[in-house]
Every structure is written in C-alpha cells, then in structure tokens.
C-alpha cells in the first residue's frame, strides 16, 4: 500500500491542530492579557532503505542514501509572550505591564498562578483582586475612605483619603518573571501556571533588571494580530489542501494500478 496515504494523513492532522490553535487565538482577540499560542511540529522517524556511506555493488562508497519520511507529529503548543497592545481606559485600577512580568494571583486552593490581565478590582474587604475576585500577591488593602488610588511605574500603590492632601503608601505591586515564559501552562481565565519548562518565578519590583513597568489607566489587550492569524489560517488551509491532493494522487495511482 502507498505510504503516502498515511503520511498525508499526519499532515492533515497537523494542519487541523494549527487551525484549532488559530481559532482559539482569534476567539480571544479582545481578551485582556491573552497570549497567542503556536503549535510546534517535528518530522516522524525515517525509513532508511540505504544509509549514506554504504557501499554499492561495485564496492564504491555512496555519498547519499535513501531515506523516506513518514509524516509529522505535534510536539507541543507554546505560548507566545510578545507584548499586547495597550489601550487607555482611564480607570485607576486598570494596570498594564509594559515589558516582561506577571502579576501573582492566589488561587482558593493556595496555589499561585500568574497573569498579565491587569483589570484589577477592590473586593468587599478592600483588597486588590483580579476580575475573578482572587487576591493579588502581595496583598494590598485599599482603605475604605480612599478618594483616589495612584499606582506608579515601579508598582507603588498610594491612596489619598478624602479631606487629606497627603497621599499615603499602602503597598507595592510585584512582578514575577520566568526564564522561559513560553513554557508556562495556560490554565484559562488568562492565568498561567509554572512548569519545569518555564523555570521558577523570580519576583521583584517592576522596572528592575529587565522586568516591565506598570502603566495605570491602561489595559494590555491580547497579542493576537488578526492579519497574522488570517495568514496562518490561509496557509493552514492551503497546506491541508495540498495534503489532500497527495491522498487524491495516491488514490488515483492505486486505482490505475489495480484496474
């Protein structure tokens, strides 16, 4: 039977995975702090019918061999951590990270996850929380009588109490960076979890040693660019078609051969 049939099938599967990834990227084009993903592929093992460096019938060494490949496979999906576009919102609790880094979020089960979505809120106890109501680490409490909140580029949060002209510092937002953010596991809700591939979080104040700075009143949109996704979509679709044509060609050849 033609090997080409199964080879082309792996190619079609690969393109399907790529389209799935593109679909999720496109669906999240307006999700705050979303990072686009990319599927990563490798070729499969080769059927080596003759090794290069082997000998021919006359005893001469052959410079090349005959190796026939058997298709492709998915090795992983990776998050692409380029900066998303910043949009001005004017809301004092919207904080965008410009550059590297993640906010740390305490999950109810005690785990710490990481996010770039800076649409912060104040909960009923006055704590700074994410839009899902999960507290940030370190905990920052905004006094109930605060009239305004200021967050500086290096993360210092200060409030002005009504009737007072002096502002008082209530805490500092810290950012976590990873040696390899592409290795983070996306867990949904714009949250990421560290893995052995990402390395361990290094926590520090914004603006130091390559860590990004904060912009109050801005939100970081997704880093999905519709044009690029469209190009990926078209190229996946065409590549899918070419693989399909291979199947058609193999089918046609088999039909002729068995007629």
């Amino acid at each position: 039977m033609f090997r080409a049939l199964s080879t082309a099938a792996t190619g079609m599967e690969a393109q399907q995975t790529r389209i799935d990834t593109t679909a999720n990227n496109m669906a999240n084009v307006n999700t705050t702090g979303f990072k686009r993903a990319r599927a990563e592929f490798q070729d499969l093992l080769y059927d080596t019918q003759r090794n290069p460096g082997g000998q021919n019938g006359q005893g001469a060494t052959l410079p090349t061999g005959i190796q026939i490949g058997q298709g492709t496979r998915l090795v992983g999906t990776m998050q692409m951590h380029q900066q998303g576009t910043l949009a001005q919102t004017g809301n004092p609790l919207d904080v965008a990270i410009e550059g590297r880094g993640f906010f740390q979020v305490s999950q109810p089960n005690g785990e710490t996850t990481f996010t770039r979505a800076g649409n912060l809120k104040v909960d009923d106890q006055g704590q700074l929380v994410t839009v899902d109501g999960l507290a940030l680490e370190p905990l920052i409490t905004i006094p109930p009588d605060a009239a305004s909140v200021t967050i500086t580029a290096d993360g210092i949060v200060s409030v002005t109490v009504a009737g007072d002209t002096q502002s008082q510092e209530v805490g500092q937002l810290l950012l976590a960076t990873f040696p390899n953010p592409a290795g983070l596991e996306a867990v949904g809700r714009s949250q990421f979890r560290p893995t052995t591939a990402s390395g361990i979080a290094l926590v520090g104040p914004p603006g130091q040693d390559g860590t990004g700075t904060l912009s109050q009143g801005f939100l970081e949109g997704s880093n999905v660019e519709v044009v690029n996704e469209m190009i990926d979509l078209i190229s996946s679709q065409r590549a899918y078609e070419v693989n399909q044509k291979v199947i058609e060609a193999a089918d046609e050849m088999m039909q002729r051969a068995t007629r």
Partner: protein, 262 residues
C-alpha cells in the same frame, strides 16, 4: 512477452516512491527546521545482460538517492527568548540516547532540573573544551534566573539574583551553545524529530553562523513546488501505466494473431 513492460513497471514504482517523499515534504510544511527531501533516479542496466540471451537494451529505473535540500527555511519572529534561529551554515547539537544529534530547529525549553532542552526533552549541548573530542556539556538555567539573553555567538546570559530572589543588577554567563558545520562526505542524514546524525566529529561553526534570539526557522518546503511535483508524479505514473497497457495489448494481439496462423 515484451521486455519493455519491465522498464515501464520500474518507472511506475519509482513514481510511487517519489509520491511518498512529496507526501512527507508537504506533511512537514509547518515543522520547525525541517529540510525538504528530493528524489534522484538512476538508470540501471539489466544485470541479466551478462548472463546470456537477455536483450541488450533492457534498462530500468529506480530511486538512486533521496537528498535533503540545504536551503534555509523562512525565519519568522516569535518573540520567545528561547526560540533561536541560525543564520548561515551551522547546526545546533543535542544529546540523544545514542550520541550527538544535529538540528536546525531552535525551539528550546527549560527541561528537567533546569537544563536547556528540545521540546521533547533532549539536552542542548554547550561548547566543549576540545572540539576534536567533544564531551556532553549541558547548559543549566538555575532556578530563579532572570530574563535570558542569547548573543549572536550563542552565549546565554541570565540576570543574577540573590538568595531572596532579588536581582543584584549583574548578569551571569550560563554557557555558549555548541554550533557545528559539516563537510561533504560527513554522511549527514535524517533521524526524524527534525534531528540529523552524522559520521565522525563535525567542525566548529562559530565563524559561519550566528544565532538570532526570538526567531524560528520554518521548513524549507515550497508548497508550489510540492504541488508541481505532485502533478508530475501522477501524470508520469499515468503515462507509465499507459505504456504497460499498450505492451499488454501488444502481447495479447501477438498471442491471438500468431495463434490464429498456426
């Protein structure tokens, strides 16, 4: 029985092989660092020629070699610090279970115990002390390292942090990637998983290649060329099949007509 039918059959079989190769190329159109394969045919003279009454003009064709295209794939920006593309003549080295393997694919991750590795977990090699007798030098990225930078010569640096995880302001060199190049006759061949193996120890490539951080090299497969090959393969197969059909017809007629005279 006509002998030409064997020549035509060998041609059809060779086209079938070619289709397998084209199928693998298009299936890997989006595989990082994949190298497209090309088939070369050769005409063989029948061995039987020397042994006796076989006709002297019986020739057949077969796949003589499958070689990979050495052209560079398209380099695309990804922005990931551990996506590395090679510009120029050179290869990354990884440590496989059976020795060193070579690859152009530069999508790396931090693997177990902080070792720089491929996405399927093979350690990426650093520059050895003795290029003639290279040992496996792994590159470790310590826990809590800051942002990583990779220079053009493959040197990895990380921000230094103290015991409390606070950056101290300096940067630390973690190692230099081993980069090699091959000569004609090194027997460089594919192993799968976008890795290659070779005979002997390859030379250093620090002068001929440079690393670009945040970029990846795609496959060097050309979809249009793939389609073109595909059409050529099906049409040639069809043509060979027609030749086989005509020989068959010829044989049938010969049998019928010669038979009717006797």
């Amino acid at each position: 029985m006509s002998h030409g039918i064997w020549s035509a059959t060998s041609g059809a079989v060779a086209q079938e092989r070619t289709l397998d190769v084209v199928a693998n190329n298009v299936a890997n159109a989006n595989t990082t660092g994949y190298r497209a394969d090309r088939v070369a045919f050769r005409e063989f003279l029948s061995r039987a020629q020397a042994d006796g009454p076989a006709p002297e003009d019986l020739r057949y064709t077969a796949v003589d070699e499958v070689v990979f295209d050495e052209g560079t794939g398209i380099i695309k920006a990804t922005g990931n610090p551990l996506d590395l593309a090679l510009e120029g003549d050179g290869w990354f080295v990884v440590e496989g279970p059976d020795g060193f393997r070579y690859q152009r694919a530069g999508s790396f991750v931090v693997g177990e115990d902080g070792t720089l590795a491929t996405p399927d977990g093979l350690p990426v090699m650093g520059r050895p002390e003795d290029p003639q007798r290279p040992t496996a030098v792994r590159i470790r990225i310590p826990n809590g390292s800051g942002p990583l930078t990779v220079d053009g010569d493959g040197t990895l640096r990380a921000t230094v942090v103290d015991a409390n995880g606070v950056a101290t302001g300096g940067s630390q060199t973690l190692g230099q990637l081993r980069m090699v190049r091959f000569e004609e006759g090194d027997g460089l061949r594919k192993e799968g998983h976008t890795r290659f193996l070779a005979d002997g120890v390859p030379g250093e490539a620090y002068d001929t290649v440079s690393v670009r951080q945040g970029f990846l090299e795609g496959a060097n497969v050309n979809a249009i060329a793939g389609m073109h090959e595909l059409i050529t393969v099906s049409r040639s197969f069809e043509a060979f099949q027609k030749v086989i059909d005509s020989f068959q017809e010829l044989d049938q007629r010969t049998a019928r007509e010669v038979g009717s005279r006797g």
